[in-house]
């Protein structure tokens, strides 16, 4: 009997050595993690990472009650269909490339190489989403309304929301500061010099616990247009499917540069959340001598009837992903949030007549699971000034991201 035992044990040992060899081969492949949707691949040393990312926002909208009836249209609309990749090479280099099927064709969105090895700073080369306003900077997967505030569109730089350039970021658990020097959008012309903008935003959260947040922030930018141009603002009102219902400025002649600025406050108190923002933009012209200004504000409230707390990204100063406590796939109700927003966008300037708009939006956000959300928005709007209109938009969204 004692003779048999060692033989068995010896056999085990040889097999165990083979097992360890096989384990090592498998471990050379690195590891995979799942965060709800798509896998994240990581090399064995943790230095390299790779992920396919994307989002899908499919909307349906109906408008009624416009004064001449021309804006009373209805239809389906793909708001976002993004596909891209996120990678990290040698720990310090993060790259991202993503496009969006806008109007049916894949147009570029983020396109960046980030270097994380320069002390506390993150240096990002390429075109990333502009750091401008709390609502403006919150990712579209996490926005509380189907569309951002109207005035956010009105205060974007001429080069758009993703100019190509260099951004430097620094921050901690409850603050950040970013500065950027940016040129034109990627599809800008190549026979004149780029616009040049300098953009900065900072925030600080004096309170930032699990269920309490107070957020304070400010931002601004200056853009030099290189060559003067006439500028006429024209923004859709809450409903991106409807090209008819718009708020428009007059023509600002011979604009050579512009400056924009904003202040933001936000807070979370258990299931309650609130934001308030003011922002404006001044268009300067040496030639015409006038400096027309647009401005506006937005105030929003949110309440989770299912008890969740609004997730806040302390390093970015924005809302972030809501994770339901009881997702529908586990028989729960998901996370249901009621939201309301009042906003104004004043494109009417004393010197140059345009339109002002007031809008009230009520909405429901139903997060079935962490990565799937249904949205319902109803907006009443009223424009005054060079155009006079009012009406109702009702919209729904089916959203998934990965």
């Amino acid at each position: 009997c004692a003779l048999v035992v060692p033989l068995t044990a010896t056999a085990d040992q040889a097999e165990q050595d083979r097992i360890v060899e096989r384990l090592e081969r498998l471990e050379e492949g690195g590891s995979t993690s799942w965060t709800g949707g798509a896998p994240v691949f990581e090399s064995p040393d943790g230095e390299h990472q790779f992920k396919v990312r994307g989002r899908l926002h499919n909307d349906a909208w109906v408008t009624r009650g416009t004064e001449d009836g021309e804006g009373d249209i209805a239809g389906t609309h793909n708001r976002r269909a993004r596909l891209g990749i996120d990678g990290v090479a040698y720990d310090d280099f993060a790259y991202r490339l993503e496009g969006d099927f806008v109007g049916g064709s894949l147009a570029v969105r983020d396109m960046t190489l980030q270097y994380r090895g320069f002390g506390p700073w993150e240096l990002t080369f390429g075109n990333k989403y502009l750091d401008q306003s709390f609502d403006g900077r919150t990712g579209s997967n996490f926005s509380e309304f189907m569309e951002r505030g109207i005035i956010i569109g009105g205060t974007r730089p001429e080069a758009g929301s993703r100019p190509l350039g260099l951004t430097a970021d620094v921050g901690g658990d409850n603050w950040h500061w970013s500065i950027a020097a940016l040129g034109d959008a990627v599809d800008g012309s190549s026979d004149t010099s780029d616009d040049l903008s300098f953009v900065s935003r900072a925030h600080y959260a004096p309170i930032h616990s699990d269920d309490r947040v107070v957020h304070l922030g400010a931002w601004g930018y200056y853009e030099d247009l290189g060559e003067t141009r006439d500028i006429e603002l024209s923004s859709r009102i809450a409903n991106p499917f409807n090209d008819v219902t718009r708020v428009e400025s007059g023509v600002f002649p011979d604009v050579g540069s512009a400056a924009s600025y904003g202040a933001e406050i936000a807070g979370v108190w258990g299931p309650l959340s609130a934001t308030a923002e003011y922002m404006g933009k001044r268009f300067d012209s040496d030639e015409s001598g006038v400096s027309p200004t647009v401005d506006g504000y937005l105030v929003s409230l949110g309440y989770f009837v299912t008890g969740e707390t609004r997730a806040y990204a302390g390093r970015r100063g924005t809302w972030t992903r809501v994770t339901p406590e009881n997702p529908v796939t586990e028989g729960g109700p998901g996370a249901i949030q009621l939201v309301a927003r009042a906003e104004t966008a004043n494109y009417d300037d004393n010197d140059i007549p345009g339109t002002d708009v007031d809008a009230l939006t009520a909405g429901v956000n139903w997060h079935l699971v962490s990565h799937v959300r249904l949205m319902l928005n109803a907006t009443y709007f009223d424009t005054a000034g060079s155009q006079d209109d009012s009406g109702y938009h009702v919209g729904t969204r089916v959203q998934v991201d990965w």
Copy 2:
């Protein structure tokens, strides 16, 4: 000797515990499966899945014998170059996003979120390929001919083959029923209301065994165009590279709505397969008082000289992937299928003169392996009515999908 044994065994046990820990870490990454081409990633609980998908169809075509010689052109043509992803989140939510490099630029194709948790129903939000006709619904990777029947293009809704909307599907091993309410294509205009269509298809396979199938199906749709428009059908004949050889209707004036309908039968008997379809479309106008109609049929036969049986998707009512019994990579001949098709498309209406076309196609499909196929098609066509033409197309395709 007996003293040595326990020590060795104890060492094994500690090592084994470490091995189990390492196994557990690896198992947290989930599993990967390979179905011939690209990997499918799955989370450890099986609730999440992810896959990159695509297809490549590269063609070369030559046309000869057209009456005035203008259509006698030759060249290469990329028919499809698709890239996209397929994912499942939390078991019940399936998402898909895919584009096609048509004319050199990536245009959107499927773009859907599907919910599978609503009893036996699958609810799909977004734009998926329309459920219309046996040949029309069979995926292009599995079609028996390089191009679908001509009349299938002629009976598509005005909003195209992938309008944005909501589809509900229910079905079993040998039947399905789908209903859809659909708006415009994703690149539709945003200053008028969408078209609105209601589409339905059902099929039943009274016989459905490994080598015998009898398939019966029917479908129809009604579309309300919102605003009336003049419609003129113009379809390429069997060869998508050739813009010159076409079948065209006259101008149908002030069309406000349309209805389309079709019946389908298909069968498999060992290596033999056959299909027959009839379909038509009526264009209605309150203003002009005429209701022009187009219609056509197609009949096809297939025979595997290498003995395979035509694969049939019982839940969808379409052909599906052919897997060679002896692929070329294992020294076999692959799967070789001979096919023939007779078809007609009548765009000539008594009230509004147009063109009718008859076409005969013979082809060879050589499946080298399950995901790679070579195709050869030869078509003789003859048009009559407002244009009079005839001629030959010969085309080849190199196809891979993943």
Copy 3:
């Protein structure tokens, strides 16, 4: 004591059997390898492979000193933003599909199915980058200058650098020969026949060791344009952001066919490398009777101050990836290469007046890690002939690939 031992060993054995089962399940997923950036997935039998690939080249350019000042522009520019996949199915079938966000929208690049089972030959169906010139064929991730030589653009076929067709390749460690029959680019028109070109290139490296290379190569093509057309060459000079500074030919009338040819020599000697190329193109017209010709050369030198040796791809006859001996992520300086180039492009023909250009470029390539590179280029150019201009371009690039 001896009684305890067998029990422990038995327990081990059962657990070990379970461990082996779990190992086997994991091994069914295949393996993953990491080459610096993105993972490569492989099936357990090694027959299938899959990888997401891409590159990002973000540039900033400034031009000064042009004669009338119109070309003195500055700005940022996305030169390349590529995303695609590489796959292998059943060992013998390799597929690739890749697009580039040019001007903001994803346009197709490589789109091929390759068959590797035909003896020593690789047969590639689809549109791949043309095998033409040492500098022309070297991938943009590995080029020593931000832009290829000017004359390379001038000698491209009318169908562009990636026509759709069939390429056959054969080669060994230090030689290759390719022949291709090609039609139009994928976005070519479909109402006339394609251009038809025959392209061939061969190289031989009589010396090819770790730190010594002598490369000799030659290439040529003939293209039949099908229908005659007027051709006017217009190439940007070293700076792809600047549409103003260009070298242009006169109008070559009624061109029916063309032929291009080139000879190449390159060498590596430790940290030193050098290339020299001459190439030309003749445009033939039966109607006009004249055969205008353009030609040019380029000579380049490179030196690694950090001691690396220029990597050379012996099977392709091009430069390939530089791997720093001491990457910055390990505290080293990375690989730093100084480069210089003299070049000329003569678009001025005796019969048809145009412009000639001479250009001198100095540059620094800083490979931080194997997949991240910073580039700095300064070019002085001088044009003569029908236009008279000169000036300086200074450009920088931030580059990552995966």
